[in-house]
Amino acid sequence: MAFFVKALLVCALGLGVGLLASAYALSHLSPFDSSRMGPWRLEAHAGSTEIDPYTRARIERSGEIPLAAGEGIQLVARTDDDGRPLDARCVYKVGPRVPSSRYWTLSLIDEDGWPIDNLARRYGFRSSEIMRAGNGDFTITVAAGVEPGNWLPIGAPGRFALALRLYDSPFGATADAIDKSMVPRVARVSCG
């Protein structure tokens, strides 16, 4: 009887822990295929047949369509340079450069990857429309309130994320080779 109770307990615990671990893994980046560049995270093989089972399961669960290795790469930042979660009450400066690519875009998304509605109807910036300094450097100001220059509005309170996509980048297949000093900085300027 005691053995039966113990066996039942093992089954219940094993099932519970296994399911919890799976739920966590399905909503977080794969530990086997995510590299970190400053605040940016990247799944280097999400868009190739070398995708690992964890990344694949997460992508299937979320419904996103990853960029193929030959198309470009996507970097996502959920924190600032100092590792603090991105917060709608704060003002951030993103820049001044990005790794080489034919085009790039920076857009603001919620924690599940959806664009956030805002009155300015501005969901992101393209490399082709941005205002730059004379030397080609740029600064995008991410803030809830109106800012001069390249202003990316935060449309809702709470946490958010930034997605940087590099199209037709020479780093497409070798994303790990990106020079960490070339990814844009995400600097927290102030917090209201």
């Binding site: 113990k6 307990l9 093992v10 089954c11 615990l13 094993g14 099932l15 519970g16 822990v17 296994g18 399911l19 799976s22 893994a25 399905l26 999400a46 868009g47 190739s48 047949t49 995708i51 089972p53 964890y54 694949r56 399961a57 992508i59 299937e60 669960r61 979320s62 419904g63 996103e64 369509i65 990853p66 960029l67 193929a68 290795a69 030959g70 198309e71 996507q74 996502v76 034919r102 085009y103 875009t105 857009s107 998304i109 599940d112 990857g113 959806w114 664009p115 956030i116 509605d117 109807r121 969901y123 992101g124 393209r126 082709s128 429309e129 449309g155 997605a163 996509r165 199209y167 037709d168």
Partner: protein
């Protein structure tokens, strides 16, 4: 006595850990096959096989696919290679555009950008490995086919076309370019 209890506790924990790991691996490996809201499940109801469907994007009202770039116009067509190979064609515009090939279980197995365009058209023939072999078997040595043939690892999936809009005002133009993606059945010679 305590040694015995400790041994029992250890085997209890070990059994639990092994079971938890088994459950976890089975769930992770099965997840792509039971996911009900994956990209294919979201796209499939929008159009029939081989139909080109423009996706509503670029704004928060159209919650089509997470992590989609609002600067990208996207169109797709579903394929089912059980009824034969298909020819995929898309005109290359002046901006960046790409065609990627996906299985219904979330595998990206090929992609072409506008740089691969010949005479302004990006073109490929998609088939199962057997269909690709059948096409190759009928190649004429005198005038070889110039087709790019892609063997799909699964018979069902979708082809996605992305067209980059350089400015918000060019988004509508990018959409009309994306709509020109075409997926047509390709005859296999007998």
């Amino acid at each position: 006595m305590t040694g015995f209890r400790r041994g029992q506790a250890a085997s209890f924990l070990a059994a639990t850990a092994i079971l938890a790991m088994l459950v976890h691996f089975v769930v992770m490996l099965l997840a792509p096959f039971v996911a009900s809201q994956d990209a294919f499940a979201r796209l499939a109801p929008l159009g029939a096989v081989n139909d080109t469907v423009l996706m509503q994007g670029g704004s928060p009202t159209a919650k089509m696919l997470p992590y989609a770039d609002p600067a990208m116009a996207m169109a797709f067509c579903r394929y089912d290679l059980a009824s034969g190979p298909i020819r995929v064609q898309a005109p290359a515009g002046r901006s960046f555009s790409s065609i990627s090939f996906h299985t219904r279980r979330g595998l990206v197995f090929y992609a072409l950008t506008d740089k691969a365009a010949i005479h302004g058209v990006v073109e490929a023939v998609l088939g199962t490995p057997a269909e690709v072999r059948a096409l190759a078997a009928h190649d004429d040595d005198e005038s070889p086919s110039h087709d790019l043939r892609i063997a799909a690892p699964a018979s069902e999936g979708f082809v996605l076309m992305r067209v980059f809009s350089e400015f918000p005002s060019l988004y509508a133009q990018a959409e009309s370019e994306a709509k020109r993606l075409s997926c047509k059945p390709e005859a296999v010679p007998h």
